[in-house]
């Protein structure tokens, strides 16, 4: 593999091209619909004759289902159907479709429940209230089984078996290794290098999308199913639903025009989609299911909690020599996207440094808790919390400059992570320089206050295809109408991050038209090409490339005609910019875009101009075609009496290649900061015997406006050869550095080392007490 990658070494460079639309301030294409309340979410869909569904959930963390009696519920007036696992095909599904053993979840299980909140039956009734009442009339007989909640307990020999045949409850393992790790540690020891080991505990976090899980399914006698779903991937929902219902993919239509947030939690099949579809198929009536906030918190998935053991060797002058890490993640009851988080966490744990020897052993362990999955950052925020704090502590232990150490070891452009990935563009060093400058400009901040830093990087979409999609990762079709307006059909999913706007910008730039000429169509599997959807920061690069290719295809057809029409010498180059078709060398010589389109369509026997584009990564290693880089600085003050944190400011130097939508980019930066700050010091999912203790927005605290600090961004521009117009990921990676940077701020402010998330006042006070005791004993 590595020889193949090497053939693709490009030098990164900055372009001096002046763009008409890219990197200019534009309004979101769906902005007016959103600020006028016209945007219709799945939550708002109401169809004639629609029924309302509710789900009965397991009160036990682990139990065998002996019997479910639905007869009393069926007798309640207004109840139209009650379904259990017996009304389904009993197919075990999962998003890692290529691996049968990882397809382990029956929504409405037949034999066992494995976490509190797992669906066991679903009701459809004429009102939500009746459906709710009917739940109380379903009699479920359980045989309660011993349960286990923590991965380090579940991996023990005598632990309860959660999935038959899965030894020690180990769901997936992932080994990443390069260089001779044992040799490198031995060498480090021999040469007087510094070796440090630490244990860390990283908590879970809930996505807390403002729109809870919601679906409206409408099955009709023609044998077709239409589902409005709050999903990050209409195509995944279509394919997974078709699979569990025994239908052809093409007979299932998924519509997701407006989605009220995703953050990694909405691209698996969920119980709202599945149960509404099963009920609708049974009744041939539309059925709507919307999760309450409590259901959403208790019974959907969460950021993966992780236990990390990290051992690192550093030379006395700050060269990173070797690392070995072991990670045990709380997988909860099922696999979902957690298997990907296991891999990515281990990979990004090495970022952004050039380790000569690196080893990671990750174990994803089943427990009787809600399943864990992907969430913005995809395992990297946890990995960085451990890595970036430990490196900071090692610098302090050795009296080294943490900026210098990071610079010395940082990724640079055209670097190969041995056997794993090939880095093309990389602005890491510049990010470190700029943050160092900024931090030093702040001067002395006074007592109990300090700035902590963390560097990291992230992928621009995953290369892996465990979903086994037969389609290109991204596709686009562009159709030019006679009046010059452009129909842009994409499969990429806008969940609020603004991909519809990004794609419109790329289309307008490529075709040389105005953004208002582009009519975007997305979020409908009947009318849009398949695309893997919004996850892993993939759309700007992958769907962006597909859109660019489709527009170049259409533009080429137009320009071919323009050549003939204008009677040009073939050595001239033509282009279109701001609706003006012109000779590049002599921009005043040209014709109007609208006139060209009319003539070209006439010349094509009345056919509209159609361009097609697609993107599937090839020969780009095992992880991603391109990587963003960043360093973040968090200015925090801690009250040593109360342990309370006040964040003054967050500054991020950020290399996302060529920014496409500057307003959207700032939004991603600020949004990621609030979500990552929540993860760092507020949000947690405490449980007692598998029961969530804070299943509402009163007790589950998120960052609100008054706590949100000032944020700033220093844009480090690189050009990514693999990205459309040099662009790469910009939204997800920004979640990665914050917890680590805050931990480092606390370290410098109070001299304590925080190894558990979230960084609550209790933990801070405990660490301060321990520090005092230690000092007293000296």
């Amino acid at each position: 593999m590595s020889t193949e990658i090497k053939e693709l070494k490009y030098s990164t460079f900055k372009t001096n091209v002046k763009y008409s639309v890219i990197n200019t301030k534009v309004h979101n294409v769906d902005g007016i619909a959103k600020v006028t309340g016209r945007a219709q979410y799945t939550f708002d869909i109401k169809l004639p004759g629609m029924l309302y569904g509710k789900i009965l959930r397991s009160p036990h963390p682990h139990a065998r289902i002996i019997n479910i009696d639905t007869s009393r519920a069926m007798e309640l007036p207004g109840v139209k159907a009650v379904v259990t696992g017996k009304d389904t095909l009993g197919i075990k599904q999962g998003i890692w479709r290529r691996y049968e053993e990882l397809c382990d979840e029956q929504i409405l299980p037949l034999e066992k429940v494995r976490y509190i909140g797992e669906p066991v039956a679903a009701v459809a009734a004429v009102t939500e209230e009746i459906a709710e009442k009917a739940l109380d009339l379903i009699d479920v007989e359980y045989e309660v089984l011993p349960a286990v909640f923590e991965p380090l307990d579940a991996i023990k020999k005598d632990a309860p078996v959660i999935h038959e045949g899965v030894e020690r409850n180990v769901n997936v393992t992932r080994h990443i290794e390069w260089g001779d790790v044992d040799e490198a540690f031995a060498e480090a020891e021999k040469n007087g290098g510094y070796i440090r080991e630490d244990w860390f505990r990283c908590s879970g976090q809930h996505h807390m999308c403002m729109e809870t899980r919601a679906a409206v399914s409408s099955y009709t006698p023609e044998g077709k199913l239409t589902v409005w779903a709050s999903t990050q991937s209409a195509y995944y929902t279509q394919a997974l639903l078709a699979g569990v219902l025994g239908m052809r993919e093409g007979d299932v239509r998924v519509i997701a025009t407006y989605v009220g947030g995703g953050f990694g939690g909405k691209f698996e099949l969920d119980a709202a989609m599945f149960c509404s579809a099963v009920l609708s198929k049974k009744l041939c009536k539309p059925v709507k299911i919307v999760f309450t906030r409590e259901e959403d918190l208790v019974a959907t998935k969460r950021r993966t909690p992780m236990y990390y053991y990290v051992r690192t060797a550093m030379s006395r002058d700050g060269q990173l020599l070797a690392r070995e890490s072991r990670m045990f993640s709380n997988g909860g009851a099922y696999t979902g996207m957690g298997a990907t988080a296991l891999y990515l966490s281990g990979f990004f744990h090495s970022f952004p440094y050039k380790w000569k020897a690196y080893r990671y052993d990750g174990y994803r362990v089943y427990t009787n808790t809600m399943p864990s999955t992907s969430m913005r950052g995809f395992g990297a925020p946890q990995a960085m919390f451990c890595s970036e704090q430990q490196i900071e502590w090692m610098c302090a232990d050795l009296g080294l400059d943490p900026y210098e150490v990071r610079r010395k070891n940082a990724h640079t452009e055209c670097y190969e992570v041995p056997g794993q990935a090939f880095i093309q563009s990389c602005g890491m060093t510049e990010c470190i320089d700029k943050i160092e400058e900024w931090v030093k400009s702040k001067g002395d901040l006074g007592p109990n206050r300090a700035i902590g830093i963390s560097s990291c990087g992230f992928m621009s979409g995953g290369i892996f295809n465990w979903f086994d999609s037969p389609y290109s990762f991204s596709s686009a079709v562009v159709t030019i109408n006679n009046d010059g307006t452009v129909e842009l059909h994409v499969g990429c999913q806008d969940i609020g991050q603004g991909s519809n706007t990004t794609m419109a910008i790329i289309a307008a730039e490529t075709l040389g038209v105005k953004i208002e000429d582009i009519k975007g169509h997305s979020g409908d599997t009947d009318h849009c090409p398949a695309d893997l959807g919004a996850w892993g920061s993939r759309q700007t690069l992958m769907a962006g490339n597909a859109v660019k290719m489709a527009c170049e295809d259409a533009k080429k057809q137009l320009l071919e005609f323009a050549y003939a029409e204008m009677g040009l010498n073939i050595v001239y180059d033509l282009d279109i910019k701001d609706r003006w078709v012109h000779v590049i060398a002599r921009p005043e010589r040209g014709m109007k875009y609208e006139d060209l389109v009319k003539k070209a369509i006439r010349a094509k026997d009345g056919q509209r101009i159609v361009g097609r584009g697609y993107y599937t990564p090839h020969r780009k290693g095992m992880i991603s075609p391109a990587y963003s880089y960043m360093m973040q600085a968090v200015d925090a003050e801690v009250d040593p009496e109360t342990g309370k944190i006040k964040i003054h400011e967050i500054m991020t130097a950020h290399d996302c290649g060529q920014p496409i939508n500057p307003l959207g980019l700032v939004g991603q930066l600020e949004g990621a900061a609030s979500m990552a700050l929540g993860y760092a010091y507020l949000e947690d999912l405490p449980m007692d015997e598998g029961k969530l203790l804070n299943p509402n927005l009163v007790d589950y605290k998120v960052i609100r406006a008054p706590e949100m600090p000032k944020t700033g961004m220093i844009d480090i521009e690189t050009y990514e050869a693999e990205g459309p117009y040099g662009a790469k990921e910009a939204g997800e990676g920004l979640t990665n550095p914050t917890a680590a940077a805050l931990g480092n701020a606390i370290f410098h402010a109070l001299g304590i080392q925080m190894k558990e998330l979230p960084l609550t006042p209790e933990r801070i006070l405990k660490a301060l007490r321990e520090k005092k005791e230690k000092e007293a004993n000296k």
Binding site: M210, G261, G667, E670, P706
Partner: protein
């Protein structure tokens, strides 16, 4: 309890609905009258997605019974725009990118509108703006772009057309 008739005005239009007395205002707005711009994001009066104005004062419409607004004037997000002209705060949200998924946006706009109305003619601090929208959760934007939008309107950058 028996169902009863309720008269209220929503966005300047009189309506009469026949409801169970325990019906929440948000249910009347969304389910009976079809103003689905107003959202719901929790059951604990925590998220602010259902915020509307009742006689000009911001109210979480999941926190009161519909019968409590008998004869009163309710304004929802659909009432901010007049004959296709966006209100200053709507324009400021567009210019500042103060929304992403958009689900909290209607409630956020109503809290912002109430805050701006209450503070008309006086200078407001950033801290006051932040407290003015404290009851509204936005999971996408990190609030700062919303604060910038409200600040711009408070400073008179946008004029009512």
């Amino acid at each position: 309890m028996e169902k009863r008739a309720l008269k209220l005005s929503v966005n300047g239009q009189e309506y009469e609905v026949f409801i169970h007395p325990k019906t929440l205002l948000v249910e009347v707005i969304r389910d009976h009258l079809g103003f689905t711009g107003t959202k719901r994001g929790c059951e604990t009066v925590s998220c602010g997605a259902c915020t509307v104005l009742v006689n000009g004062v911001s109210v979480k419409s999941c926190s009161i019974l519909a019968v409590q607004v008998e004869g009163m004037e309710v304004t929802t997000v659909e009432g901010l725009e007049k004959d296709g002209k966006l209100s200053p705060i709507q324009k400021a949200f567009l210019d500042n990118g103060s929304y992403q998924c958009g689900f909290c946006t209607p409630g956020m706009l109503m809290s912002a509108t109430a805050f701006l109305n209450e503070n008309e003619g006086r200078e407001v601090t950033e801290h006051e703006i932040r407290e003015g929208i404290e009851g509204n959760i936005c999971r996408c934007t990190g609030y700062n772009s919303i604060v910038r939008a409200i600040d711009a309107v408070a400073k008179g950058t946008y004029k009512e057309e």
